[in-house]
Structures are given as structure tokens and as C-alpha cells.
Amino acid sequence: MTTEVFGKHKWGMVVDVDRCTGCQACVLACQVENNVPLNTQERYERARGMAWIRVERYWEGEFPDVKARFIPILCQHCENAPCEPVCPVFATYHNPEGMNVQIYNRCVGTRYCANGCPYIVRFFNYWEPVWPESFRNHLNPDVTVRSRGIMEKCSFCMQRIRRGVRNAAKENRELEDGEIQTACQQACPTDALVFGDIDPDNNRTNPGRAYSMINDDRAYTLLPRLNTDPNVIYLAKVDPDREGGAGGH
């Protein structure tokens, strides 16, 4: 007999920038999985486009020796999240599983959290989400459709985590590493995104894939000077031409 244990895991993600080709499959997968409203050119022009994960592109070098660099940016699920203490209604808080969560039915839409976020991964519903008629039956029934006036962001595919934990409890076994996949990870053709338990205590006897990657030489976090302590770890690009670039690979 097992019941669902909550707070046993600490979820995190490793993003291998070296593997990312900038194909945007994660962006699309996330949009479909999480009922993210469709964007239009006008919304992007007003800086109100919504994408829980986005692939940022940087150009490096001068023409003709120019290189495109890609980096997927999603909610970093910071341990010291700047968005959490500013919420007046506790709609965003840190849950026992190490995730920064957004509770839609508590949110009143002050947008303080989005103003505080240094990674710009929180999105405000400026409009009532409307899908074309043909899309209506494609919405994910496990995810709430957010209405106008509330904030939303990457949830690490909470519905998939809950389903995975529930299935393990149903079959009376421990959750396996890699059993829970986020939508972006599942869609990534180069396996650049790895989701898993990154709690050291849970990885002592049988280290998971994500945990074994966060101690890599290439590991870094975004904007470390802000001391947000993200749960999303990036692995640096391997570039032999680059001066001071990560060597040894």
C-alpha cells in the first residue's frame, strides 16, 4: 500500500546548449501541451507574445565568420525567486518539490512578479485566450485554460509530474529516473533538455541522468550575480575556436 508522497523530490532541468540547434520544437510542444494562447505578430510587436519556453538567438562574430548561438530560456524555478515575495496574494510560491509554482485561481493580476523576474519568463494574459474553432478539441484537459488578467509561466509540466507520481504509487513502486518527461524534453530531437530529480539525497545510491549532468565542468546558471539559485542548469557550448571557451571536450 502506497499513497502519493509529496515533497520527496526536487525537480530540475539540465539544458545542454551545445546540443541545441534552435529548431523551436520545444516551443511548439510547450504551446500545445500547456494550452498557451496563440500569438500574433501584433502581440509580439507590443512585447506581449507568450511562450513558456523560447529559443533566444545570438549572432557571434563578424560577417563572413558569423555564428548563430541558440539558448532555450524557460522559467528557472529559482530557489531565491524574485517573483515570489512580491506577490500580494501568494499566487506564486515555492512548493516542497523545489518548484516555483503559479496558482491561477489565486492570481489577481498585479504583474509585480513579471516586473521582478530577471529572465522575463512570466507572461500576463492581456487578452482572453481565443483559439480557432478547429483547435477547440485539441486543448489539453489536464491543464487549466488561463483567462484574461492572470499571470502564467512554465510549470515544469506539473500535470505530467503528478501523473508520473500517481502511476508509480498505483503500481506500488518507486518513481524511475527519466519516467517523467516534460513536453519540451520529449519534443527535443537532439536531447538537449533533461528533466529529473536533482536532490543529492535522492541520487546517492542510483544517480539520475539530470543529477549526473549538473556537476559537469560546463555547468553554469543564468545571471548568477543575482543569486537567484536556479533549478535550471545550463551546459556551456563546446567551441574549440573560441578563446577561453570550455576545453577538454
Binding site: 499513497t3 515533497g7 510560491y93 518539490e97 518548484m99 509554482v101 485561481n105 489565486r106 503528478r162 498505483k170
Partner: protein, 240 residues
Amino acid sequence: MASLLEFIKEKHRTTPLWIKALAPVLLLGGLAVFAVTGAVTAFVITAWLGQPIPVLGFDQTVKQPIAFPHTIHAGTGLFPSTGLPGQFIDGLEMDCTFCHRTVTSQANAGVPPVALCSYCHKVIGPEENPELAKLRKAAGLTEEDPSPINWKRVHRLPDHVRFVHEPHIRYLTQHPSEIRNAAPGVNQLSEALPSQVCSTCHGDVASMLEVKQVEALKMGQCVDCHRENEAPTDCTVCHH
């Protein structure tokens, strides 16, 4: 009241007649406004705290396209037929999970497909029963084209709640002492059947001719039960 009558009957005409005529109307009007406001307030407060007062169609029952009797299918004893008034049929004591098949494995309890109904009702049930005639038409057993049955939903949670039946059934079958509104003797069992735990939230459906919502199903009830049974109470367990 007496002073009001005195005021109306007074002989010396200092007060105009139209004011005298209006005074009782104003008094009754004031009382009526007071009563209506009180009734509305009572309705709002009860609806806020639990089930609203059953007036104006707020009795939590829904008119189904086919008058399906849960009593005859799941109940024990003699029950009136919904299609043929005056006839009584013995309850079949069917298990809830015979029709609501996904309740022990999935989020949704599941409404059975028409094929499951017609599996029995191809043969069982008299032809003159108008409710069964509707079912046979929907199942395509008649000359007419089959059409889906638009069953109306009775228990509806808000869109921001993700309720999953499976873990609740699993826990309550293993802990029968926590089952509420249970049939006699169920709380003392060491392990309950899935169909014996439904009453915790749905009441005794087997005795309802028209299924209605008996529990308010508010978040307070969910959280109370989760706390008593040491189930997780983190927001993300239900809201995501």
C-alpha cells in the same frame, strides 16, 4: 399599526389625502423589500458556505435526455419504472464500476457508451417503455439512424481544479473507516469494494431516482479530508 390607523382616520385635514392613501402602501412595500433582501442574502450565504437553498431550480438535479433510473440498476428493493408509471421493478444491485469503468484507473469516472447499455437492453425491457425506446433509437437498434445521447453533467468542478478519481478510490478502498455516508457495516470492513466508496462524495446514488449533488464539493471539504488523511495539501496537487 394602531397609530397608522389613527393617522389615516384623523378628522382635521392637515395631511393631504394622497399621503394618507400612500402610507399603508409604503409600509407594506418596505416590509416586502426587507423580506426579499433577506431571502436573497440567505440564498447567497448558503450558496457561499455550501449548497444553495433549493429554490428556483437550484435543487442540484438535472433533467437527463433519457430518464435513466440509478435505483433500478444499482439499488436493492422494488423501485418504480421511469418509463411505465405504475410498474415496479426489482433493483439489480449492479456494481458502479460495471458502467463507470474508468473510475478505478483514470481521472474521469466515465459515462458508459451506448453500446454498453444496448448490450443488455437489446433484449431486456419491454418495447412499450418510451424511455427504452429512446435508448434503442440512440443505439441504432431501430430503423432510424443512431444519435448520441447528450447526458447532462451533474457533478461539475470549476475549470481550475483537476480532480482524479483513481487515487481517491484506491485510498478509500484500503481505508474503509474514512468512507463517509457509507452503507451500514462498510466502515468496519478491512478492505472495501470500489463501489462502496463512492458515497463519500456522491451520496447514496443507488437510492436516487434523479441523481443530484448532495455534497457541496467545495475546496474546504477537499482540504479537510486531505488533512485528516495526511494527503498532500499543496496547491499544485489539484490546481495546475
